[in-house]
């Protein structure tokens, strides 16, 4: 048996002098593997992410879509927004189906049954798939180190099924499975599963990173780094959902920045060579969590104590990244310095837009 060597792609990293800044890079790839015309909501964070991700990957790419918004809202029979091969798989099969595609290409190229450079194999799993039902399948794919990129488009809930709580739904987040009421004033009582760190800690040979649609160049570069990494890569991307978060649709990218500026979504990379985290990403500003919360109807019920709890959580995230906290943020972790969300004028305004 004479095995044929598998040729792999190497994608260039986009120039990004200050990744946390607000700027537009005109040198984006022209390729559009994910075209408009699908049925996602206006302002859909996951589909903005999808376009950027597939643009960064280019045309020699295979996309895998476990059940979720990016399955149901994107494709409908005899209509497809994908210019590259795409396959649906079950919601719990994100990592496993992807592993099958990767293994098939390894074997087929090696055995001379398929000729060409190894394709980019990208799985787009929602946070329900990635943090709950498909967690083991993704861990399996990362552990076995198939050459693929698994993306968790994190809209912090099961949105496709009508907004239900997932393991990624934040503390205080209202969903139809975690509604607020006299017995549960804060709605969601549990804090989100620290999924990306779990993946980095458990699979240290993988490239693991977090990103947000608020920073598209950073996102696209992380996609390319993940694809260039020989072996498995995992990327968790903040992708707001206007329907579930209840905000004005033009503000998706704003939220993508605010969530980072408030410290609720730490942006980092895990370097599998050095075996360490890279916390060098810095947003332009640091803000109290209330500035992020007040734009979203899902937090409109929160009391001062709940906001203080979230500020405490955000402060811990900053500290974990080695950031020194300004006095204002330390103050904001004390309930007596805060006002109820329900009393905030902004929350009422936003809630009325729904």
């Amino acid at each position: 048996m004479s095995a044929i060597e598998v040729q792999r792609q190497l994608l260039p990293i986009l120039d990004s002098p200050n990744q946390g800044a607000r700027f537009y890079n005109p040198e984006l790839p022209s390729s559009e593997p994910f075209v408009p015309g699908h049925r996602t909501c206006a302002g859909c964070g996951p589909s903005i992410q999808y376009r950027m991700t597939s643009k960064a990957a280019g045309d020699n790419t295979i996309l895998i879509g476990p059940t979720g918004c990016m399955y149901v809202a994107n494709s409908s029979y005899l209509c497809t927004p994908y210019n590259v091969p795409w396959a649906h798989t079950q919601i719990g099969s994100a990592g496993s189906f992807t592993a099958g595609v990767a293994a098939a290409y390894e074997a087929m190229i090696r055995k001379g049954k398929w000729k060409g450079a190894y394709p980019n194999i990208i799985c787009e799993a929602g946070d329900g798939s990635a943090s709950d039902i498909g967690l083991a399948s993704i861990s399996g794919a990362l552990y076995r180190n198939h050459d693929c990129l698994i993306i968790c488009y994190d809209n912090e809930q099961y949105a496709n099924t009508g907004i239900q709580a997932s393991s990624r739904t934040p503390y205080g987040g209202m969903t139809t499975f975690s509604p607020p009421g006299p017995m549960v004033p804060e709605a969601k009582k549990l804090y989100p599963k620290d999924l990306a760190r779990m993946m980095a800690a458990g699979h240290p040979h993988c490239y693991v990173a977090t990103a947000s649609v608020g920073y598209p160049i950073d996102l696209m570069n992380k996609v390319r780094k993940g694809l260039n990494h020989k072996g498995a890569a995992y990327l968790m991307v903040y992708t707001p959902c206007q329907k579930g978060f209840v905000y004005e649709t033009p503000r998706s990218i704003d939220l993508g920045r605010l969530v980072v500026e408030c410290g609720l979504y730490p942006i980092w990379e895990w370097d599998p060579e050095k075996r360490q985290y890279d916390y060098s990403f810095r947003p332009q500003n640091m803000r109290p969590v209330s500035e992020y919360l007040k734009l979203q109807g899902r937090f409109g019920h929160l009391h001062t104590q709940h906001i203080a709890n979230l500020q405490k959580f955000a402060n811990e995230q900053w500290q974990m990244m080695g950031v020194e906290l300004p006095e204002a943020l330390l103050q904001a972790a004390d309930a007596k310095n805060l006002v109820n969300m329900a009393a905030a004028e902004e929350a009422v305004t936003v809630a009325e837009t729904v």
Partner: protein
């Protein structure tokens, strides 16, 4: 007529599990995905060693569950690779979600089943309930009764399932332990014979960046029925292909199987057993013994249960006075309060002008061997029914009655 090269043909003494592994090797599979559960595990152990030895070039993936195993198989087959997987017992059930998506996407994944009783409680013994519970999911399915037949069924199943007129997954089943762990002589063919019989896998619409396709987009309710009808027709159309492939197999390898039912000593028989799998080997012995004593008993062994050979079953079983269905499976609360084979046998016979009496025997349950005296006992029940012109009751739990 095929030219048979005898040079590398050899006979080895192996069990059913190893015979299945050998078949996967001869089929030059590209992706293998394993997860341990007794008794089928031995197949994957054998394949792991073949890959480690360099005898077989394949990606060998140890999955994190049976659900993942089948998803990996689905992804790999969707990309154009020939895939081999397998399971037993509750493992078959753990993967249940994937059976319909795989057949619905028309991916000819092959799955080896060494069957096992379902929990509770944990029981290693063989019973056909695991695979039979998936029988309506669009997979071709049938039981082998010995290691040679298992080997042969694997090769034929790939050829049938991958045929562009069929494109359906296949469950190639054998009884746990009675076949999977009992060694017997198996003739391994010359690789040239296999090359002649089994062309390389070529799915018409794989996930290939040079020819982008979308697999499995969401549908509107009215778009569902045409797809389901197509899958149902593929199952029906496979029947002609199955017959064709069995003929060609006989021509190339020299072993001829009836694709649907094996008849054993049915000439002049009044009463027959109707059953699947490895217990048929004991049945043959028991029948020979009873024939020597003048009892007109025979055996009809079902070789393919999906697609169900309705016309053939009707034609064959109508020749007899009494049919005793040996279930080796559980159909709790089913039409006979016994197993699931009874209902289909009766349904196949319904339009017959000469309907035999049909009785169901719950035997071989939990991995118990069906011993000779039980075959004699069941034959007696059938003979009594023949004399009476009426069955005593629909279902007998063998070993629990006088």
């Amino acid at each position: 007529m095929a030219t048979v090269t005898e040079s590398k043909k050899r006979t080895v003494r192996i069990n059913g599990c190893v015979a299945s592994a050998q078949a996967a090797k001869y089929a030059d599979v590209d992706v293998i995905t394993a997860y341990p559960i007794r008794p089928y595990t031995a197949t994957m152990m054998a394949l792991a060693q073949m890959v480690a030895n360099g005898e077989l070039d394949a990606e060998y993936i140890v999955a994190d569950s049976e659900h993942s195993q089948l998803s990996i198989a689905h992804g790999a087959a969707s990309s154009g690779a020939r895939v081999f997987t397998g399971s037993s017992g509750v493992g078959v059930q753990f993967a249940y979600e994937l059976y319909s998506p795989i057949s619905g996407s028309r991916m000819p994944v092959q799955m080896m089943i060494a069957d096992r009783t379902l929990d509770p409680p944990g029981d290693f013994g063989s019973e056909h309930t695991d695979a039979l519970s998936t029988r309506d999911m669009g997979w071709l399915m049938g039981w082998a009764c010995d290691a040679q037949e298992a080997f042969d069924n694997h090769l034929m199943a790939y050829r049938i399932g991958e045929d562009p007129r069929v494109l359906l997954p296949q469950m190639v089943c054998q009884d746990g332990f009675f076949v999977s762990h009992i060694t017997s002589d198996v003739e391994l063919p010359d690789p040239g014979q296999v090359n002649e019989f089994l062309p390389p896998y070529k799915h018409p619409y794989p996930l290939d960046p040079r020819h982008p396709v979308s697999h499995g987009p969401q549908i509107m309710p009215e778009q569902g029925p045409p797809l389901q009808l197509e899958r149902a027709r593929a199952m029906e159309d496979s029947m002609a292909v199955i017959e064709e492939v069995h003929d060609e197999f006989a021509n190339i390898f020299g072993r001829r199987y009836d694709p649907w039912v094996e008849e054993f000593m049915t000439d002049g028989a009044d009463v027959v057993f109707f059953m699947q799998g490895g217990h048929a080997v004991t049945a043959r012995f028991a029948i020979q013994h009873m024939r020597d004593r003048g009892v007109k008993v025979g055996l009809v062994r079902l070789r393919t249960i999906r697609p169900y050979p309705t016309d053939r079953v009707q034609e064959v079983l109508s020749k007899f006075k009494v049919v005793g269905v040996i279930e080796t499976n559980m159909g709790l609360g089913s039409v006979s309060s016994g197993g699931v084979l009874y209902a289909e046998a009766c349904a196949a016979l319904y339009e017959s002008q000469q309907r035999p009496l049909v009785v169901s025997f719950m035997a071989g349950m939990g991995g118990e061997a069906i011993v000779l005296k039980e075959f004699y006992w069941m034959t007696e029940k059938m003979t009594e029914a023949q004399k009476r012109g009426k069955i005593e009751k629909r279902t007998h739990w063998v070993g629990f009655e006088e």
